[in-house]
Symmetry: C2
Subunit: 597 residues, 2 copies
């Protein structure tokens, strides 16, 4: 297993291109966010991730978490590693200055999240959930709630959790049964069980703030009867410090295939009469409140896929240069490093192109998110929010599916050593498998993309995205470079396929919504494949320009061009398969009697 090194060069390049950092810098809110500042932050995060977080990753996987009498002990070194992260202010990055945040772009925050996930995804999940809590309280908390919790959560002194799932309520939140009863003092008493609560209990911080969906006695059935509560482990005292222990506890931790060092908790609320919680937002308005944080949390889970893909790529690349087996295919007497074998090279390039494509996609979404948040007028904000809304399910699902694929390819490059835990990449493969499942399964993402993001506005938002990507592609037209020409042609074809598939999806839905749902998965696959390809094409265009101007490190630009060409020739063809399924796959998906399945 290779030592992790943050991919500073591509992070920087992707931030400047797909992440549009220069454009963000031009906005008043980000006037101080210049290239130097960004470089410095990325570099420092990369250093800490590599030196502090990454070395703990494998041992923590072996150690797991220990639960005893409701107390969770985390893996050795996690406390110090979390502390170092908090002390350097990394937790505060994208939040408002009012509560101690640094007000930096989400685009940058997402780039850094990749680094933490590469280094130690079990630990990186902790801040991921805190971010969700911060967003909920920022958007929906009372002034008092904000003053009480936001400084603690933003600094990282306390951590936050999301309590949605119950045994009977996974994808279907309408079945949530946890109860909340009004108390006389304006607070609520929460009772019930929650499952799969990531970092629901731990020993990293003095307090944990649970955001809990529950149901009032007189609430309507289904999702319209859910209310959101903030339920701290220790009730803040008059000075805002952890006071009385709340009536909630961790009653179990799951034995999982991966992310062993992340405590996935069963939480029991109100065994002794009711946990004290306070309403966040409106009664029965819990689900719509929850949606406000889902965008960022889903982008963050997409990033988990990218982080693990990058880590797995680095391990596979290092192994391919070290391991000698068999002679060069052109002959010779000596065994050569396996990187010399063309089909190992294919695997490495596939891994790299998918990882860089995923990164481009996530940062492109981050850019839209930042611009939407900063937009002056409602029209611009709405247009950009539509863009974010389309991209979120694609980043979440496509990047996490690629995380599974790329870590699997790394296992294959390492061969026997890939299957042995000692080799290290087995852990990445196991860890990556959760990301397509939680924070809305990738199937849920596909239905979200189909229903709320494409059908609801009859594909207008998708058309706008296609138009922008086509416009960016225009720059490649003027080149006589053979690579750029080939890339442009492949991507243009992909964009046409996506446009046609969008029309097909709408038309299927008009016939029978089940038909469009039957091809929602390949439609998302198509979208991710094509948009990532278009963004890599645009990056290739920039790389070519900068090479022509001899501006900066031409080796990096040459590699970027080669990776984009590889993507166009070898990965964009997947769009053919996905487009064909959208076009012709619905009827045969629905035809067979259910009982004959």
């Amino acid at each position: 297993m290779a030592d992790y090194r943050a991919p500073l060069a591509d992070l920087d390049f992707a931030l400047r291109t797909s992440g549009g950092l220069d454009g963000l810098h031009a906005l008043p809110a980000f006037a101080e966010v210049d290239a130097d500042l960004v470089d410095q932050i990325v570099e420092e995060a990369g250093r800490m991730a590599a030196e502090v977080w990454a070395p703990l990753n494998r041992r923590a996987d072996q150690e797991g978490v220990h639960l005893k009498n409701g107390v969770v002990r985390t893996a050795e070194g996690f406390k110090d590693a979390y502390r170092a992260y908090v002390d350097s202010g990394f937790n505060t990055l994208p939040f408002e200055a009012q509560w101690g945040g640094q007000g930096l772009p989400w685009t940058l925050a997402l780039a850094l999240m990749e680094v933490w996930h590469s280094a130690n995804t079990s630990l990186a999940l902790n801040p991921l959930l805190t971010i969700g809590s911060v967003e909920l309280l920022q958007a929906h908390g009372t002034a008092k709630q904000q003053a009480t919790y936001l400084p603690k959560l933003i600094s990282g002194a306390w951590t936050g959790t999301m309590n949605l799932s119950e045994p009977q309520a996974g994808s279907d939140l309408g079945q949530i049964a946890c109860k909340a009863e009004r108390a006389h003092d304006g607070s609520y008493r929460i009772t019930g069980q929650k499952i799969y609560i990531t970092w629901g209990e731990h020993d990293l911080t003095e307090n944990i703030v649970h955001m809990v969906l529950a149901r009032l006695p007189d609430a309507p059935a289904g999702t319209k009867g859910l209310s959101l509560f903030v339920v701290p482990k220790f009730l803040p005292d008059a000075d805002g410090n952890p006071g009385q222990r709340n009536d909630l506890r961790c009653t179990g931790v799951e034995h999982k295939m991966g992310i062993h060092a992340c405590p996935t908790c069963t939480m029991s609320y109100g065994d002794d009469g009711g946990a004290t919680g306070w309403l966040v937002g409106e009664e029965n308005g819990g689900l719509s409140a929850m949606f406000t944080m889902m965008n960022n949390a889903r982008l963050a889970v997409g990033i988990q896929g990218i982080g693990l893909a990058e880590r797995a790529y680095q391990d596979a690349r290092a192994y391919a240069f070290e391991r000698t087996q068999s002679r060069d295919i052109h002959g010779g007497r000596q065994s050569v490093p396996i990187v010399r074998h063309p089909n190992i090279r294919r695997k490495l390039l596939t891994m790299r192109a998918l990882t860089e494509g995923s990164r481009a996609l996530a940062l492109y979404a981050g850019n839209a998110l930042d611009r939407a948040k900063q937009a002056d007028d409602a029209d611009t904000r709405s247009r950009l929010q539509t863009r974010v809304d389309i991209l979120v399910p694609v980043v979440k699902a496509w990047c996490t599916d690629r995380g599974v694929e790329v870590t699997s390819t790394a296992v294959q490059v390492l061969g026997g050593m890939g299957f042995i835990e000692e080799g290290g990449v087995a852990q990445h493969y196991r860890d990556a498998r959760i990301a397509p499942i939680y924070e809305g399964t990738n199937g849920i993402q596909a239905l979200d993309l189909m229903g709320r993001k494409v059908l609801r506005d009859q594909g207008n938002g998708m058309q706008a995205l296609l138009a922008d990507l086509r416009a960016d592609l225009g720059g490649l037209d003027r080149s006589d470079d053979a690579d750029l020409t080939a890339i442009r042609r492949s991507v243009a074809r992909g964009l046409d396929q996506l446009e046609a598939a969008t029309a097909t999806l709408i038309s299927l839905s008009q016939d029978d919504i089940a038909k469009s749902a039957a091809v929602a998965d390949p439609f998302l696959e198509l979208t991710g494949t094509v948009v990532a390809g278009a963004l890599l094409a645009q990056q290739a265009g920039v790389a070519a320009q900068q090479m022509a101007a001899a501006d900066g490190p031409s080796e990096q630009y040459r590699a970027k061009l080669a990776v984009a060409r590889f993507y166009a020739d070898n990965l964009l063809p997947r769009a053919d398969a996905a487009a064909a399924q959208v076009r012709q796959g619905a009827a045969s998906t629905l035809a067979l009697d259910e009982r004959l399945l």
Copy 2:
């Protein structure tokens, strides 16, 4: 986790169609192998697999193996389960009567292997390796070696192992360093270390027979200097019973991602002066001897992929009918079983179509193998052997890749419960990941298909396969059934793509062998996708005929037709992506400077 039930109906149908069991029955050697006998054997194996082997699977995964002072203790129940299998004669199935075998077709033996792998793949690996030892000794052993070992190995009283890998010699057997020195009594003294020895040490049987590749002092370097030795754990005494303990021991077991209950051993030979072994075949003829058993072992590993895919499909299907979440997409007030959601249906049909396609492919290869073995004249034998040679790497690689894919899809269907070990499918996913790696990585299979199987005869064998598949497809022409027409059209297109890709592969190799190697992986992917599709099409044709004749269970035939149509519409499009890579993907795979990867 659902109880496993052997898929008797599809095994039977696939044996009769793709496995061509009626045709085999017409051969003199298999005159007694009629449908009744086959049904009886498959049913009995299915019963034992479900009742005896499957219930041990999960507990054994948790228990793993225990190594202490060179002694390996296997999981609770394994001894009895293995004993039951041996006592029912299942180990003797395809072997020659002369040594206690039943002389049944390999096609049938492969169908049964699937059942054992579905039930308990860690345990099923044990007989898999024994089969390899039997084949080596049958083909290359002396009369005395055969008399000593074959009855014990065929009955299952003793088990066999394959000792190839060493730390520096994985895919590259030329680097094997284990030594063999000639002793005065005609035996040899073996010294050195072997790794990744599946079932290298265990407590199931009184003796273990190691087949070991080693190098004589005066042997040439590389693969031409390898000799094969039989090295038993206990030297057989004058009565053929286990006598003196040999100088070999298990010094370690690997900690692996999956197949936890299978001891993967580091073996040390000759720590006390040299293990006693006897030459099998010619000195320095070890590698070519080894090739004689690779065909069957590779088919068997392909079967492992199918077995795990089938098991995962059953678990996912059961869960999809039990688990209720969300309303029907057409509305309604109640949550419905998730099988009702179109994109879960897509996942189940994908799993089923890939599993049935893999099964068809493996049994089609088995049929060619049986006919090759039974052929009267050299021309027929050679023609059929060519067919086997082409299909072996495809079965090994394509079916094991599908095993990983299908088990991963099962994890996704189960959602959170898929990632939790308690849910059961996490184990299938972990277990399946080894199969693309061992017995020649899937990358090695792709190079084998490219080099020895296509380029060497300039694609003639592939052309013959295409011609046969096209001829079988012809029957669908006469139908006016819309499904059959659509299936025929899709498969015909796939066969054309495979033909074109074969020509491209040859042409690339004439330009630069590295170029063809750069697209060997997608070429194999294309071959598997298309051939499996063609075989499912042929099965659909038979199903339609039998439905028309109202012959037998029409529900099964309706389902078969629907699954084949699903494959044609939703899975054959993958051939487009693979074909495009073969056509255009080589240059960009090779372009980038190695040091910039």
